[in-house]
């Protein structure tokens, strides 16, 4: 694995994430969010999990980012008023980062040398999904269907209210 590629991708990812978290304009933040997820997918590629990286790009950059942009456009009236920024959040985030980093560097039980790159093909992942993981797969399908119906019910116009307005 290439160290230079890792450094470049991680700096790219983290700066895009900081931009997504701190930019004033919502639309710019949503686009930085998509860029940050491209960077995370790059890290997945670097780790040899190409399929998960592709799924991440499809789901986040393709679907979730578009959903966020649609939501921003639908709730546009107070987009410009996002001036509030709670500075206590920075203190908490830095404290969490320091604690996690201290724990990571203190622990000695990790195998730090990387094993040989596993040749995990999409065929193997598909076979595992259809054999060992078929029950979780069906449950995820059920959850996704329930989420779809729930989202529709949440945003559905109330019939009587619409009539009243008319």
């Amino acid at each position: 694995m290439n160290t230079a590629a890792f450094v470049i991708i991680s700096i790219f990812t983290l700066s895009a994430a900081v931009a997504a978290a701190t930019l004033r304009k919502l639309m710019h933040a949503a686009l930085s969010f998509a860029v940050a997820f491209v960077g995370v997918a790059g890290l997945f590629f670097l780790l040899g999990a190409e399929f998960v990286g592709l799924v991440l790009v499809f789901v986040y950059v393709g679907a979730v980012a578009v959903l966020i942009v649609f939501t921003i456009l639908l709730t546009r009236r107070d987009v410009e008023k996002d001036r509030g920024f709670n500075w206590a959040g920075i203190v908490v985030a830095v404290a969490v980062l320091a604690g996690l980093a201290a724990a990571i560097f203190k622990t000695q039980s990790f195998a730090v040398t990387m094993p040989q790159a596993p040749a995990l093909t999409v065929k193997q992942i598909g076979e595992a999904l259809m054999t060992n993981y078929v029950w979780p797969l069906q449950c995820v399908g059920l959850v996704l269907t329930a989420a779809l119906i729930g989202a529709l019910v949440l945003v559905m116009e109330d019939r009587e209210e619409v009539k009243k307005v008319k």
Partner: protein, 104 residues
């Protein structure tokens, strides 16, 4: 020299902290959802890193957990954004500080 597991974990911890910062300090509901998605991505990065550096990279356990976590995160994002739209339709705002009707 190749990157070690620690470096990946620190990157993931940094991504998690940035997501936490977005979820805690922004007032706009969409930013909170963006922060939660970033925290979930950091967790996925941890799963993949531990799978890659683990003793048995031939068994696709880490990959499977990451795929299922991505699916659940997508469902969560859809429901969360629908809730943002519903709240906006009711209160005409998406600023979470103004949604204090249940405050005693």
């Amino acid at each position: 020299m190749t990157p070690t597991l620690q470096i990946f974990l620190v990157t993931s911890a940094a991504l998690f902290s940035i997501g936490l910062l977005a979820a805690l300090s922004r007032r706009h509901a969409i930013f909170i959802l963006i922060g939660i998605e970033m925290m979930l991505a950091a967790a996925n990065l941890n799963f993949i890193a531990f799978w890659r550096f683990g003793p048995q990279p031939l068994q696709p356990i880490g990959v499977m957990i990451a795929i299922f976590a991505i699916a659940i995160a997508a469902a969560e994002a859809a429901v969360g954004l629908a809730m943002v739209i519903a709240v906006y339709r009711h209160y005409r705002t998406t600023n979470v500080d103004q949604l204090d009707q249940l405050k005693g």
